[in-house]
Amino acid sequence: MIAQLIDAARRRADGGADALWRRVERTTVAFEWGRLKSAAATEEAGANLRVRHRGRVGVAGTTAVGGNEVGAQHAAPLLDRALASAELGEQSDLVFPAAGPLPPLTTCFDRAANASLDELIGIGRSLLARLEREGCRVNVAIERETTVTRVANSAGAGGEYRSTAFGVSADVWRIAGDDVLVVSDALEGADVPSDEALAALVASINARLDHALRVVASPEGTLPVVFTPAGLSALMLPVTQALSGKAVLQGISPLGAKVGQEVFDARFSITDDPLRIDRATSRPLDDECVPSRATCLVERGVVQRFIYDLETAARAKAESTGNGQRAIFGKPVPGYTNIVLNDGGAQHAAPRQLGGGLLEDIRDGLLVDELIGVGQGNVIGGAFSHPVALAYRIERGEVTGRVKDAAVAGNAYELWKRVAGFGADARWTGSRWAPSVLFEGVSVARR
């Protein structure tokens, strides 16, 4: 048991220890260019141990843990390496938390846990049949995963939970001459997606593909631009980076000194929520034994707080927000679980209208679904400039075709100060819940 590892660590590390043990079992089927191509099984287990000794912290990870336990023969070398790491390690005042009540949360769904290979293949085939069209090629991947996580520390806190994840992704390729068009979508949840959710995925791809077949000239100038839930990444990334306690400690967060100030549109709120039902990233406690809770980071435009793990919290003289994330290798870091933009609400299963109802009043503008190069450069500064990968022209309230050679630019913090409208199409894109968002005055260049 992981408890024995902690016991052994406690005897040799004067400042205590915590550990994570995780076992993942996964099945994947892949359809490549329209045909079933492979099936894969994965069994992986590993442990990560952190010790605090003489005021310094050390970390070690291993996959040499045996089948279902961290056996004594594996525990000793892992502990040796963690202590060696602590000899050089950084000084930290981090405190391992005492046991606290864990929130009730269902993380394991039987249908996903027990889904057979044939079921996965069946879902893939049904998607393929609905997505195939003349002149196009389709890739589909279906994945189910079961994970057992155990965490414990020397202060008596800990927990164990079994969780499931189920992912469906599809991309449709259309190459005509030198014009390459790819439209994709994915569902990531904790349970097998409903028929309605699969239908919505098909409808979302088909709608964007239909509109993309016609290529039109890009508008140019300072224009209204709608970012779809997927296209919103370039605007969300600077904000989420700036709301990380780690960036604040480094002195590079533009929001670091803005707690209590209204720096965003009064309709803009962001919450990190590890307790959402049916999300693969939800969990009852974080990877450092801190019970999960939703953390409101921006409320109605006002910066509330930042996310922390134990170590960054200790340095910032703050409390962990339960955002400690750790892999088998390396030390824990603060990380988001589910990022929820604005209220959250119920998940739509029915097909949604492209643009979420924001297009009506636009005389000439752009609808951006995907950009190239998001995450490159000085992201946290807020300035961005990206060519479009998938974008559409909006004229007199309607999508008139796909725009190829355009680039959009702006500053995320400036744009979030004045939002022209939030769409009625909020959905999950990966672990982010957001609607389409309309901004006036985004710079659009044609090349």
């Binding site: 260019w33 069994e43 040499a64 950084e90 002195g251 290798f329 060519p387 050679d405 630019a409």
Partner: protein
């Protein structure tokens, strides 16, 4: 280990089976500012099985517990049978190999105490911090690993290798009031401890540049003649062209196949591009790929014409071409897929090419784009962020500029490469390439200075 693997192979009932086992020792040291963030040692191990039944698809199993070897060989066989594929998957013929290929470790990192690695990195980090009090933050990372690697397949190939990898990276952040600039140093080699000594100068240089960029103006957006330095030219050819030459993109996609037809002109006759998996000491270099195929130097563009592409055994068979030794996996957790190794634009010495001065001599107003903060390609469109740039005025390198973002269409841009210098060099950097969830794969790029007669430089799209 080999006996254990061949015994497991003999029990497989599939028509083709391969097994890979890896055991990796690695250490990582990280400094942020003056703080040592972490110094850790890790041990990773596991296996991978891939099986093919006649008429079946790939059955794949990966695992961390080697006790499960036999069970996972059987599981891969079952999975292959469960996914019928028509037409069947075929594998291109390759010679079998039995080799004990222990690459030169150049100072085995496993014998160096972690405290010494910390001291080395501390010195390089100090070189960045010592440049100016404008340097408000640094990130310095040392990483090394040695992988012991075993590969067997049911056609008789048996390989045992030791694969070293060592990388250093440094980010220097300079700040004055609200302006933040950064400089990036990155070093990576498939070698060992000795190869990362005496590297302080490079770290100092990027910190000095970050400080200098605080005073540099943004480049004015527009269309210019652009000269790429060897580093950015290398990243460009990898990202913008290399990925399209990976045959898994084209082999079952008739339209893609047509776009990438051999014999198509991609550039002017001065353009020569290849991928070289056998160049000594580079991160993309290995004697064999992860299907046991010997690596090679593959010409992709010759005198401006597309002449080759990168293959796995499967894509080669499907296209009636020869395997090129480009089936690679980042670890036992993944199946081998078609990947680059060390991708290059060949240098063009005179009379066809020339020197850097020849490239800029007749440029009245242009941009010299240097280094790479990042690059992304989506099919035929790309966007690259240079680390910094210099204006070229009347044939001379002039003032420093920042926020140089190059964007464009691959086909147009390749065709606009009109001048290539003879000053080829490999960029021995860390980091790596990502594809299909497999990141980072060690690769290297190489190029000389390259001129694009006209390219769009973003940066300050008029607001």
């Amino acid at each position: 280990m080999i006996d254990r693997l061949t015994a497991a192979l003999s029990r497989s009932r599939a028509d083709y089976t391969e097994i890979r086992v890896e055991r990796t020792w690695s250490t990582a040291v990280t400094f942020r500012g003056r703080r040592l963030e972490s110094a850790t040692a890790s041990e990773d191990q596991g296996g991978f099985v891939r099986a093919l039944h006649a008429g079946g698809g790939w059955g794949v199993a990966s695992f961390t517990s080697l006790d499960r070897l036999d069970a996972m060989v059987a599981r891969a066989g079952e999975l292959s049978r469960a996914v019928p594929v028509d037409p069947p998957i075929r594998l291109g013929d390759v010679p079998t190999h039995q080799a004990d290929a222990l690459l030169d470790l150049d100072g085995d990192v496993r014998g160096v105490p972690i405290a010494e690695k910390k001291r080395l990195l501390e010195a390089y980090n100090g070189a960045m911090l010592g440049v100016s009090d404008r340097i408000v933050d640094t990130l310095a990372v040392y990483r090394d690993e040695v992988s012991e690697y075993w590969y067997v397949n049911s056609q008789g190939t048996i390989l045992h290798e030791l694969r070293p990898d060592v990388t250093l990276s440094g980010t220097a952040v300079a700040r004055r009031d609200g302006t933040i600039e950064k400089g990036l140093e990155s070093i990576g080699m498939r070698r060992g401890w000795r190869s990362v000594q005496d590297k302080a100068a490079g770290f100092r240089a990027v910190a000095e540049r970050a400080v200098a960029l605080l005073d540099a103006p943004m480049v004015k957006g527009g269309t210019y003649p652009v000269i790429l330095d060897p580093q950015l030219a290398g990243v460009f050819i990898h990202e913008a062209f290399g990925h399209l030459s990976e045959a898994d993109f084209v082999y079952e996609n008739p339209q893609a196949r047509e776009m990438m037809t051999l014999g198509r002109r991609f550039g002017k006759p001065v353009l020569n591009v290849g991928d070289n998996g056998v160049a000594p000491g580079l991160r993309g270099t290995l004697p064999f790929d992860d299907e046991g195929t010997a690596t090679q130097d593959t010409t992709l563009i010759k005198d401006g014409i597309l002449v080759g592409r990168l293959h796995s055994r499967e894509t080669a068979a499907a296209m009636g071409e020869r395997p090129t030794g480009n089936a690679r996996a980042i670890s036992f957790r993944h199946a081998p897929i078609v990947r680059m190794t060390n991708t290059y634009i060949a240098g063009a010495p005179p009379p066809g090419g020339g020197s850097f001065e020849d490239l800029i001599g007749d440029v009245k107003l242009g941009v010299y784009a240097c280094g790479a903060f990042g690059g992304q390609t989506m099919l035929e469109n790309f966007s690259f962020t240079a680390a910094y740039g210099r204006m070229i005025r009347d044939g001379q390198v002039a003032e420093l500029v920042k926020d140089v973002v190059l964007a464009g269409n691959l086909f147009q841009t390749l065709d606009r490469i009109d001048h290539i210098a003879g000053d080829f060099r490999w960029n021995q950097m860390g980091g790596g390439c990502g594809k299909a969830g497999q990141f980072p794969l060690p690769v290297t790029e190489g190029a000389p200075h390259v001129r694009i007669e006209e390219a769009l430089v973003g940066g300050d799209v008029a607001a």
